[in-house]
């Protein structure tokens, strides 16, 4: 995966124009949602406790499961913000999946965008999976600059 900051920045930076800023939290949450649901359990269970959960949680990088997850999250939103929240969180999570599909994994691809209809994996191999780390200083500066400008 590109690091979580790159995903965060992708949602934060595009939602800073004045007419979109109010909905920034939804988009930002959406752009990191697949990793919240996949990587955090994976790090805790798989890497720290040795309980292999990868195949349980990788489904949260498939659009269909993100649709269901976003629906569940939107049920926890106040009715006045539910619809906007649902669509923007979903949009952010799809941006996340597209960015992840663009990267080049070593070996076989791991993401299953067609799940549960197919277990076929897919990767476009446009950049190395750690390439986003070298962009971190630039993205951090852009986020800080954007935050200062919109205060």
């Amino acid at each position: 995966m590109p690091d979580l900051f790159a995903h965060f920045a992708s949602g934060y930076l595009v939602s800073q124009p004045a007419n979109l800023r109010q909905n920034s939290p939804f988009l930002v949450l959406g752009t990191i949602l697949p990793d919240i649901l996949t990587r955090i359990p994976e790090i805790i269970f798989d890497r720290l406790l040795g309980i292999p959960v990868f195949h349980f949680v990788i489904i949260f990088h498939s659009p269909f499961c993100l649709l269901l997850s976003t629906f569940a999250i939107s049920l926890l939103l106040d009715s006045q913000i539910r619809l906007a929240g649902f669509f923007l969180i979903l949009m952010g999570s799809f941006v996340h999946v597209i960015l992840d599909l663009m990267q080049k994994q070593f070996g076989q691809a791991v993401y299953m965008p067609y799940f549960p209809f197919s277990f076929e994996t897919l990767q476009w191999g446009l950049f190395h999976y750690n390439a986003s780390i070298s962009l971190f200083p630039v993205l951090l500066l852009l986020v800080i600059f954007s935050w200062i400008m919109t205060r």
């Binding site: 690091d3 920034s24 990587r39 269901l68 049920l75 070593f106 070996g107 299953m112």
Partner: protein, 170 residues
């Protein structure tokens, strides 16, 4: 439509979580069976009790010894938390091909094929330095904290109604 959602929030939430759990189990059963089969083939290959895969494979290995033209590794054939239990240490595998800059004990992903049960022909490799992984985790944690900050600055949570609502001043 929206009023149906509002009136049946809890059952809908339970059904959705249940459906996601079923999908998780479905994915796990497929993925786990595939992994088990691969690890079984790999363990059989390096012990000489099974035919090695004829196609290119990616394996995880720990470097045991280094030489000028080759290096010796132990291949990972198991899952688990204890790093020392994961690699099959009964069988040493000699890796020929490109000789990456390595030290003994490094964990490396190898892509290539077995020319015999003890010899691996390397095509590509990938090694992620520990410091790189730590940087990745640190900046990911920063993103998580910033997201929580942005979220809770904009929304409050009502534990009685179990909903996030937009704060008045936002």
């Amino acid at each position: 439509m929206l009023s149906i959602l509002e009136n049946h929030r809890t059952p809908l939430l339970v059904i959705t979580v249940f459906l996601l759990s079923l999908l998780s189990i479905y994915s796990y059963s497929f993925g786990n069976a595939k992994d088990k089969e691969f690890n079984k083939t790999l363990a059989g290959c390096i012990s000489g009790t099974r035919n090695c895969p004829q196609h290119s494979v990616v394996v995880s290995a720990q470097v045991k010894n280094l030489s000028q033209d080759y290096f010796i590794v132990n291949i990972r054939t198991r899952k688990g938390a204890r790093w020392e239990d994961l690699f099959d240490r009964k069988f040493d595998i000699t890796v020929f091909g490109e000789r990456p800059d390595l030290t003994v004990g490094d964990i490396i992903a190898l892509k290539g094929h077995f020319s015999s049960s003890q010899i691996f022909q390397l095509k590509e490799y990938d090694i992620e330095a520990k410091w790189l992984r730590e940087i990745k985790y640190t900046i990911s944690l920063l993103a998580l904290v910033l997201t929580m900050f942005i979220w809770f600055k904009a929304f409050g949570f009502s534990p009685t109604e179990l909903v996030f609502f937009r704060k008045q001043n936002h």
